[in-house]
């Protein structure tokens, strides 16, 4: 593998300044980064390990904004009783991801920045605009079952793979970013870049910027929320389709709804059409399916992933009904 320099940051300031250099890569839990480096997919020449920086793993859940430190471990957060009780969608998205061993090491910030599982990106060989801009997209005439229905283009049809990010999209989430220039907060919807727009770029993060926290606006919809993940294998597999749904209910009537989709888009994908289809309705299976269909009305299928339009709609429907049943 490529020779690289490894350093362990002792302060956030140091990490930010080192990360501003070219070919630098931040490492948190390392569960994604090491894989990418083994596959020669990063070009990283300097790895800055922030995994042990103090203070960045803190989770604060008692204010009007839930604050998740970027270095909080997936496994730890998935066990928080308050979160289980009040935001099941968030907990489930963590529990259904990867494996226990990986969740023990993996961080929430790193999770957001994991890269696509598109086999043509990962194989290091095929033409891929993500890996080698301008080289083309092999998936266009390749195996495309896993590919995206939303946010794709003829330059890239890969899907964003993360579960946590998909669940976050169903809430009012923002990302706290720190750099030498100071700290800023961006809306979660603006944090990821749809691959289809610029395959090589996956987020707005610039060199020297570090995600320090994930902020979620507290909401009563959290209680009636769920994350449904549909996959070929029962465990240890990415979503073929997934959906997070969070509801506010007045009896059986939906007064507010948030719906997001996973496994089908090039970034965590909100589905406002599905939300509109739910709000004001007495929620039952037919309404739920209708909302699911609305979510996929604009989907663009390739050759082998068209079934995800139907399956995705059903996934939304299932999630809506499960969310309704939570209390």
């Amino acid at each position: 593998m490529r020779p690289f320099l490894y350093s362990r940051a002792t302060s956030l300031e140091q990490a930010m300044s080192e990360a501003a250099q070219s070919h630098a890569a931040i490492m948190a839990g390392g569960t994604t980064l090491v894989d990418l480096m083994r596959g020669d997919l990063t070009g990283a020449e300097h790895v800055i390990d922030i995994g042990h920086l103090p203070g960045l793993a803190k989770v604060e859940l008692d204010g009007p904004v839930l604050r998740f430190g970027a270095l909080a471990r997936m496994a730890d957060v998935a066990e928080l009783p308050f979160l289980k009780q009040n935001y099941p969608a968030l907990v489930e998205s963590l529990q259904l991801a990867a494996s226990q061993q990986i969740r023990n090491a993996a961080t929430l910030g790193g999770n957001l920045l994991q890269r696509t599982r598109c086999v043509y990106f990962r194989d290091g060989v095929s033409d891929c605009n993500k890996r080698v801009p301008g080289s083309g997209c092999t998936a266009l005439d390749g195996e495309d079952r896993e590919m995206a229905l939303f946010g794709a283009s003829d330059r890239c049809v890969a899907t964003y793979p993360g579960d946590w990010g998909t669940a976050l999209a169903a809430f009012d989430t923002s990302i706290e970013i720190s750099s030498a220039a100071g700290t800023k907060t961006v809306k979660f919807a603006d944090f990821h870049v749809a691959y289809g727009d610029d395959p090589a770029r996956e987020s707005i993060l610039q060199p020297g910027e570090i995600v320090t926290a994930i902020l979620v606006q507290a909401t009563p919809a959290g209680r009636h929320s769920t994350y449904v993940k549909v996959r070929d294998r029962q465990s240890y597999a990415y979503a073929v389709t997934s959906a997070a749904v969070a509801l506010e209910l007045d009896g059986d009537r939906v007064t507010a709804a948030r719906v997001s989709l996973g496994g089908v888009a090039s970034k965590p994908w909100r589905a406002p059409a599905a939300e509109a289809a739910l709000v004001g309705q007495v929620l039952n299976q037919a309404v739920a399916l209708e909302a699911g269909r609305a979510a996929f009305a604009d989907a663009k299928a390739l050759r082998h992933n068209g079934f995800k339009i139907d399956l995705g709609a059903r996934t939304v429907a299932r999630a809506a009904m499960v969310a309704k049943g939570k209390h």
């Binding site: 490529r2 194989d123 079934f307 399956l311």
Partner: protein, 747 residues
């Protein structure tokens, strides 16, 4: 049969001898053996599927600090002994050895081997080997346009099946498709080679140390005695490690040139093309029956994916033709050559794909007839092999079905598809299918040494590929010699031991076990002869480390052996299957492939099983889960119920995995396997496997061999995919004629 049942050696669920060493991590696998001053190797693989190397530049690679050698087709430049493909009587995984020409025959072909002082430097240099290709169009899928089918054999014909089919009252005619699959043993392919005084010592995970020794001796033009192959532990093989993979030759060659040991561990993704795989297959099955359910015609045409570089045919009609009584049988096999690495053996290579189609078709026939699928099979049970007319050495398939149906609760099944629904709306389906596997055997030697303290050592160049052979062979010796299992040590996996067979075709227990039995018997004979010359040996027994004389008096083994020169009794045995001639036996013992069976001169010998599955299908999302599997098997005498159960269970789990998950996807545009890592090549996780019930019938087969064992290792996988597909049909009314069966097939 000559089994000493008194000592608890045979039939006891002894815990694996190697379990502790494996759990504690002290068992050394091939890549763990340290050779002093080892250099490390890394591979560069072809990015294209067919063509030629048009430009090769190794300058940047050679400039990496610590690089010792970059082996390419230009620098290899050495003539090698001409050893052939394993399926042509040789030992190589492929007829084509990479680096022997600039031609590219398949994607992922090895195009260079880089050696350096450290693994990191080797990998970095391997990345920097610059290659351009003159690329030609390639077809890696047998579905590509323009490929032709070639007949693979002359087929099997009994009666006039075409005519009977045309005239039949009830018939089924359907085609079933199975994909390419890869073994993906958890232990990666590896090789570590060292030369000393012209002799080669090689550590690698192997299912065939004797064959590997013979093959490497031929390749390098050295005497067979000058090659030592060590493979004491194997972390899963499933057929992938039976022949000599190309990297093994290249690593040994690099070590010889460098005058320094060289080690290579083949990364997971490279394993997809450095090793072999299960080729894709397409089965057309035609069945015809009377309205009462008696089969009148059985036809099975299978087309299998083969390689341009090696013709490989794995059609399983030797087995499907023997399943049911029918006066008319017609079987045909064909292949389609594709631009892929040579396909090879993978657990039940012929049977697993063939039975998916054949046993699905039986279910379709049961539906067409309105007859219970278990009963349909029982109604068509053949008294003799319907092809050869020979009797079975043993066949308890009907008993397997009866017992399996009871264990499973088959009688609760409402035959109407979609009629069984759980309270939460989950669709429930029950399915069944037959499993079978030929009981073949190969010649084997063994040496058994008994010491005065009662300890016993068994030597045999067979292998424990995770199956429990260490334990089972020890039990055979313990049983004959009347010593406790703990006192028996088993040494396997070294080519210096007495010759053992390839661990393939589920033959180890029957073959190596028979040789151990024979050697142990010889030890016992000497013990008896020593203790009481002239007495009637047939009335003497061995128990609890004592010889029991005809008059009931006892003599301690320690006293008898202690008095002998050397203080041990040691005997060597060369065993061969009854029907095998001496010449074939000698070829086998010298490391050649020499099988006898399953069709012998007087009988036909197969293991059988009845397999049942319950699937649960989400009514909305259509995800399929296997809630329960039941398998009841008749595999002759079971030496160790614990290890046998584990093999059968592993096969069933793999069958479920195969039914619902496993596929090596072929990117047809580029002619390559697309999902070459374990994130995208899915096999069953624990959560995918519900309850697995395995039972083995007490079957006495006095014909098959002296210890009465039949094939255990592979039969477990064979019927499971069809049982699950049949259960999916029962749950939903949707007949899926391909694997893996995915949720989109049921939407």
């Amino acid at each position: 049969m000559d089994i000493n049942m008194g000592n608890g050696g045979i039939g006891v669920p002894v815990v694996r001898r190697d379990a502790m060493a494996k759990v504690l991590g002290v068992a050394q696998y091939a890549a763990d053996f340290p050779h002093e001053n080892t250099a490390y190797a890394a591979l560069t693989l072809s990015k294209v599927a067919r063509g030629r190397i048009s430009r090769l530049d190794t300058a940047a690679a050679e400039a990496v600090a610590g690089v010792r050698m970059v082996l390419t087709h230009r620098s290899l430049n050495e003539s090698l002994g001409d050893e052939t493909f394993v399926m042509k009587g040789g030992h190589m995984q492929s007829s084509f050895l990479p680096l022997t020409s600039d031609e590219i025959h398949y994607a992922g072909q090895i195009v260079s081997l880089t050696i350096a002082d450290t693994l990191e430097a080797a990998e970095e240099a391997a990345r920097l080997v610059a290659i351009d290709y003159a690329r030609e169009a390639a077809s890696a899928s047998m579905d590509d346009a323009g490929l032709t089918e070639e007949p693979a054999d002359s087929g099997i014909d009994v009666g006039d099946a075409e005519a009977a089919f045309a005239a039949a009252e009830v018939k089924v005619d359907a085609t079933y498709v199975t994909p390419a699959q890869h073994h993906n043993p958890i232990e990666l392919y590896a090789a570590s080679a060292a030369w000393q005084d012209g002799k080669l010592l090689i550590n690698l995970p192997s299912q065939w140390v004797m064959g590997t020794r013979a093959g490497l001796a031929k390749v390098f033009g050295i005497p067979i005695e000058d090659v030592h192959v060590e493979s004491p532990y194997v972390g899963g093989a499933f057929g992938a490690k039976a022949s000599i993979l190309p990297h093994v030759v290249l690593v040994a060659m690099a070590a010889r040139r460098l005058g320094r040991p060289v080690k290579l561990v083949v990364p997971r993704e490279a394993g997809f093309t450095v090793g072999s795989f299960r080729p894709a297959a397409r089965s057309r099955v035609r069945l015809a029956a009377t309205r009462q359910g008696k089969l009148t015609a059985v036809m099975h045409d299978e087309v299998g994916q083969s390689a341009v570089i090696d013709h490989v045919a794995f059609a399983g009609m030797e087995a499907t033709s023997k399943m049911y009584a029918s006066p008319n049988i017609r079987m045909r096999a064909a292949t389609v050559a594709t631009d892929v690495n040579s396909p090879g053996f993978m657990r039940a290579p012929a049977e697993a794909p063939s039975f998916f189609g054949f046993e699905s078709a039986m279910d379709e026939l049961a539906v067409a007839l309105g007859i219970d699928p278990v009963e349909l099979r029982i109604m068509n049970e053949p008294a003799r092999d319907p092809v050869s007319g020979l009797p079975w050495s043993s066949r308890l398939l009907v008993e397997c079905y009866r017992r399996g149906a009871a264990l499973f609760g088959w009688s609760d099944r409402n035959p109407k598809p979609g009629s069984m629904v759980a309270a939460d709306g989950t669709l429930i389906g029950y399915g069944c299918a037959t499993a079978t596997y030929p009981s073949a055997m190969a010649p084997s030697s063994a040496r058994v040494r008994l010491s005065a303290d009662g300890s016993c050592v068994v030597y045999c160049a067979a292998h424990d590929v995770g199956t429990g052979a260490y334990t089972v062979l020890g039990q055979v010796a313990a049983d004959v010699l009347g010593v406790p299992d703990e006192l028996v040590t088993v040494e396997m996996g070294h080519s210096r031991h007495p010759s053992g067979p390839v661990s393939g075709g589920s033959i180890t227990t029957g073959s190596a076990g028979s040789a151990v039995h024979m050697a142990a018997r010889a030890v016992r004979e000497r013990l008896f002869a020593t203790v009481a010359a002239g007495q009637d040996r047939s009335k003497m027994t061995l128990a609890d480390r004592h010889v029991v004389l005809p008059d009931g008096s006892r003599r301690a083994i320690s006293d008898i052996i202690g008095g002998l020169p050397g203080g041990v009794i040691e005997e060597h045995a060369d065993w061969k299957p009854t029907d095998m001639d001496d010449k074939t036996m000698q070829q086998g013992l010298a490391g050649g492939m020499a099988f006898a069976g399953p069709v012998g001169g007087t009988h036909v010998s197969f293991s059988f099983g009845a397999q049942f599955a319950e699937v649960r299908i989400d009514p909305l999302l259509r995800t399929i889960r296997v809630a329960r599997m039941v398998g009841v098997f008749a595999c002759g005498r079971i030496i160790n119920p614990r290890t046998a159960r584990s093999n059968l269970m592993g096969g069933m789990i793999w069958g479920a995995s195969s039914a619902l998950l496993e596929e090596s996807q072929i990117d047809r545009a580029r002619g390559r396997f697309a999902n070459t890592d374990l994130a995208s090549y899915h096999f069953a996780a624990n959560a995918d496997v519900g309850e697995v019930v395995v039972e083995m019938l007490d079957e006495h087969d006095s014909v098959v061999n002296a210890i009465g064992t039949k094939a255990v290792g592979e039969v477990g996988i064979v019927g499971m995919p069809a049982a699950i597909a049949n259960a999916v049909y029962h749950a939903t009314g949707v007949r899926v004629r391909k694997t893996p069966i995915l949720m989109e097939d049921l939407l």
